[in-house]
């Protein structure tokens, strides 16, 4: 699959590097484009599926995850990926993020995390650092930033990773592992916003990121890594816990409609006084 589409992103946008990593990852995976479905919300990151050769449902702000859940439950054979930004997944869709992790359905959640609202021009997002000034926080953001990784681990997410748009080869490997992982997999992707985030730049991350050698299987140890931020920022698969039961469906739905015999049985059992 090779998409040569002009994007709506700024020159140098972190999403460009993510798109390259994603496109290569999808090419290298043993799934065909027709069996891959992306869901996305609203924002610059949510335009990602438009620039890939895949099926997609580009829905409402914050709602990419429940769309993905519905698709996966309906058609377990499809590879389902929810893709959006930090504002969409962690802010507007925060409730879905938390409760979908509890379901442990086999979907992948990829988040372009640029720590800012880009499309609405630079306001604080759930992951914006305290003290950052912008159009709606002229005196500086007063809210503690959300840590998606430790939140996901604490909710019992079995696969939690962080990638960096400036390391596309490394990111590609993480994305492939996340998609292949049986269960809900989260990849928070550090995405420099070249227009509205003058702090968390490519340079900023290059000076701080280090690659984790392998994921840990202990949740408490993983929490420590997930909480590491500042002079050193870990990237890679932080936590991986296989063997957590994956939510499925009782019986095939698609191509297996309810029969008239079943409806007659239901009518007789529940609504008729005698057989």
């Amino acid at each position: 699959m090779e998409s040569k589409i002009e994007t709506a992103w700024c020159p140098g946008c972190g999403n460009l590097g993510i798109r390259n990593a994603l496109e290569t990852a999808l090419q290298e995976l043993p799934v065909t484009a027709k069996n891959i479905v992306f869901t996305s919300g609203i924002g610059q990151a949510a335009k990602m599926p438009h620039y890939l050769d895949v099926n997609y449902f580009n829905g409402l702000h914050g709602r990419s995850i429940p769309l993905a859940v519905g698709i996966k439950l309906a058609r377990p054979e499809l590879t389902v990926i929810a893709y959006s930004g930090d504002g969409c997944i962690y802010g507007e869709g925060g409730n879905h993020f938390i409760h979908t992790i509890r379901k442990n359905i086999d979907i992948t959640i990829l988040v372009s995390d640029n720590k800012v609202y880009g499309l609405t021009k630079g306001q604080s997002s759930p992951t914006t650092d305290m003290g950052i000034k912008n159009s709606l926080d002229p005196a500086g953001n007063e809210n503690t930033p959300l840590n998606p990784l430790s939140l996901a681990i604490s909710m019992g997410a079995p696969f939690v990773a962080r990638g960096f748009a400036g390391e596309p080869e490394h990111l590609k490997i993480i994305i492939k592992e996340a998609i292949l992982f049986p269960g809900t997999a989260l990849v928070d992707i550090l995405q420099p916003c070249v227009t509205f985030n003058r702090i968390n730049t490519y340079q900023y991350y290059r000076e701080r990121v280090y690659k984790l050698e392998s994921p840990v299987a202990d949740r408490f140890e993983a929490m420590k890594i997930a909480e590491t931020w500042g002079e050193r920022i870990p990237i890679g698969i932080i936590y991986k816990h296989e063997g957590v039961p994956v939510r499925g469906i009782r019986q095939n739905l698609f191509g297996n409609p309810v029969s008239e015999e079943e409806m007659i049985r239901l009518l007789t059992a529940r609504h008729a006084s005698r057989v």
């Binding site: 709506a8 484009a33 027709k34 069996n35 479905v37 869901t39 609203i42 335009k47 599926p49 438009h50 050769d53 895949v54 099926n55 997609y56 449902f57 580009n58 829905g59 409402l60 914050g62 709602r63 995850i65 429940p66 769309l67 993905a68 859940v69 519905g70 698709i71 439950l73 309906a74 058609r75 054979e77 499809l78 409730n95 879905h96 938390i98 409760h99 469906i249 009782r250 019986q251 095939n252 739905l253 698609f254 297996n256 409609p257 309810v258 029969s259 008239e260 079943e262 409806m263 007659i264 049985r265 239901l266 009518l267 529940r270 609504h271 008729a272 006084s273 005698r274």
Partner: protein, 541 residues
């Protein structure tokens, strides 16, 4: 003959158990009955009451006649309902209830046995023979408890006081929500997501239970926004899907109603209405959401709104809604309410059992999800069935489903979507008519008032006055064809609605320039009874 019965008490005192036990036995004994309830939004305490109309004839509404029998498990029942007891009616309360409870604990060592004893008393009052009950009750202990009820009834001289003959011919029993759920399954619905909310929850319970034995999935969502998006996801992926909620939950879904309209993703949404605004009266009834569902969702897109009024109609409307949602690739909304949802009744009409299914077409890689066509309907397929990629977008989009800000294309896409609404108008479900077509007075109703209005019309006609009534089960769109031949401009029209402002009357005026002369509105959270409605109509004519 008929027996009108009220059982009142606190939540948690076994009223619901008595209702289930009584209706199950009445059903199996071939009685015609109608049962509905009035309950408070709490788990224990308060005051609830269950109403039963047991009759020789099929009955589909509360009569409104004085109660032949009242069973008062609490003092409140006496205060509130005894004034409506028929002269010479049976009133069971206080010391008698304590005797029943004593028998349950002393003889059966089980306080719950009093529910069965009370059921036995009711059946004895109606003149049921114990031999008939023995034929349908297998458990000897259960039968013994019913006999204890008969003994109490004998001691208290209540037996055969209000005899009713069992002569129901068809033997199907449904409440309104069960009928909608059954109809949805007939419509090929295989996916439901929802968040519990009274009075829609029993639809979820029905589908969940059916899903244990059928290829159907129910998913409880973290909120209604998630529920509707899960259903849209499942529909996009290829399954017929629905959600059910009440007004407050529907409010959370409204952005996604618009999403369904824009992405042309079929979905069926059931709004089981309760009185608002806001939390309102969570367990009572109202037809207050009509204007809301008509206008829910930003922007302009086609939709259909139905409000079935009887069990057979609820089954058919629910079933057909899935075909319609697919045919026009749009949201279909079904309005019901607490009254109809909670009304258990015997059905005389045949109920279909054939299941409709989606059309699964395949296309090549050149497939365009939003292909511009003459009738506005683009070919629909689902991911993974062929080389066709299915790309749908909430933004204004190209034929391929890519974001666009081409403003000329915007016009063509809007026209395409709205064209479907024009076609939909030709597919209208005609209103039902009861009574005299030549009458100078017509009643106009919609949704759950159907059977109440129908019986009121029969009563007024029996009194020698001509009258007619129109009942709309399709409330939007409204077309001239739906009212053609009734000469409505020459009639005196009386609108009957369970809301405070006459929302359907307003809609008829806006859409068809039909004006009601009078309105009969009830919005205290309770349904009309037949006698009450007759009285209100007589005052107007």
């Amino acid at each position: 003959m008929e027996c009108n019965l009220l059982v009142g008490g606190e939540a948690g005192q076994g009223l619901a158990s008595i209702e289930i036990e009584l209706t199950t036995l009445l059903f199996r004994l071939n009685y015609c009955y109608f049962a509905t309830k009035n309950y408070m939004s709490r788990i224990r305490g308060g005051h609830n009451f269950h109403m039963f109309r047991i009759s020789d004839q099929p009955v589909y509404a509360l009569s409104g006649k004085p109660w032949n029998m009242i069973i008062a498990l609490d003092d409140e029942t006496e205060t509130r309902h005894k004034p409506a007891l028929k002269d010479g009616g049976n009133f069971l309360a206080g010391e008698q209830i304590r005797e029943i409870e004593k028998a349950a604990t002393d003889t059966y060592h089980n306080p719950v046995a009093s529910n069965t004893i009370i059921t036995g008393i009711i059946l004895a009052t109606m003149g049921v023979q114990t031999e008939a009950i023995e034929k349908i009750v297998d458990d000897p202990l259960h039968m013994e408890q019913i006999r204890t009820g008969f003994a109490f009834s004998g001691n208290w001289k209540m037996t055969k006081r209000f005899p009713v003959i069992a002569q129901s011919v068809n033997r199907l029993q449904f409440d309104g929500n069960q009928a909608l759920a059954f109809g949805a399954l007939l419509g090929g619905c295989q996916f439901m997501a929802a968040y519990p909310m009274t009075p829609a929850t029993s639809i979820m319970m029905y589908v969940t239970r059916a899903a244990l034995e059928m290829p159907v999935h129910f998913e409880q969502a973290e909120d209604e926004i998630s529920a509707v998006n899960m259903a849209l996801g499942a529909s996009y992926a290829g399954l017929r899907a629905m959600v059910a909620t009440s007004g407050g939950g529907f409010a959370l879904m409204t952005e996604s109603v618009s999403l369904s309209g824009m992405t042309e993703t079929p979905i069926v949404i059931i709004d089981a209405q309760r009185p608002g605004p806001s939390t309102g009266l969570p367990t009572r009834t109202e037809q207050g959401d009509l204007n809301f569902v008509l206008h829910a969702g930003h922007g302009e897109f086609p939709r259909a709104v139905f409000a079935p009024g009887s069990i057979d109609e609820a089954v058919i409307v629910a079933k057909n809604s899935f075909d319609l949602a697919d045919r026009y690739q749009m949201p279909v909304i079904i309005l019901t309410d607490q009254y109809f949802a909670d009304s258990m009744q015997i059905v005389e009409e045949q109920v279909p059992t054939d299941v409709s299914d989606r059309d699964y077409r395949t296309f090549d890689a050149g497939y365009k999800r939003y292909q511009l066509t003459a009738d506005g309907i683009s070919p629909l397929t689902y991911p993974g069935l062929s080389d066709a990629l299915v790309r749908v977008d909430s933004d204004e989009h190209t034929e391929e489903g890519a974001i666009t800000e081409d403003l000329n294309l915007r016009i063509r896409m809007m026209d395409k979507r709205l064209k479907k609404g024009e076609l939909l108008r030709k597919d209208a479900r005609m209103p039902g008519f009861f009574g005299d077509r030549d009458a100078d007075v017509f009643l106009v109703c919609w949704g759950s008032n159907k059977s109440i209005v129908k019986e009121a019309v029969e009563k007024i006609r029996a009194g020698g006055r001509q009258i007619g009534a129109l009942h709309f089960s399709q409330v939007y769109p409204l077309t001239q064809e739906m009212v053609a031949g009734y000469d409505l401009s020459a009639k005196r029209l009386i609108g009957i609605e369970n809301n405070a402002t006459g929302q359907f009357a307003g809609l008829l005026k806006r859409e068809l320039d039909i004006k009601m002369s009078d309105l009969i509105l009830k919005y205290n959270g309770e349904c009309f009874t037949v006698l009450e409605l007759c009285r209100l109509i007589q005052e107007k004519i």
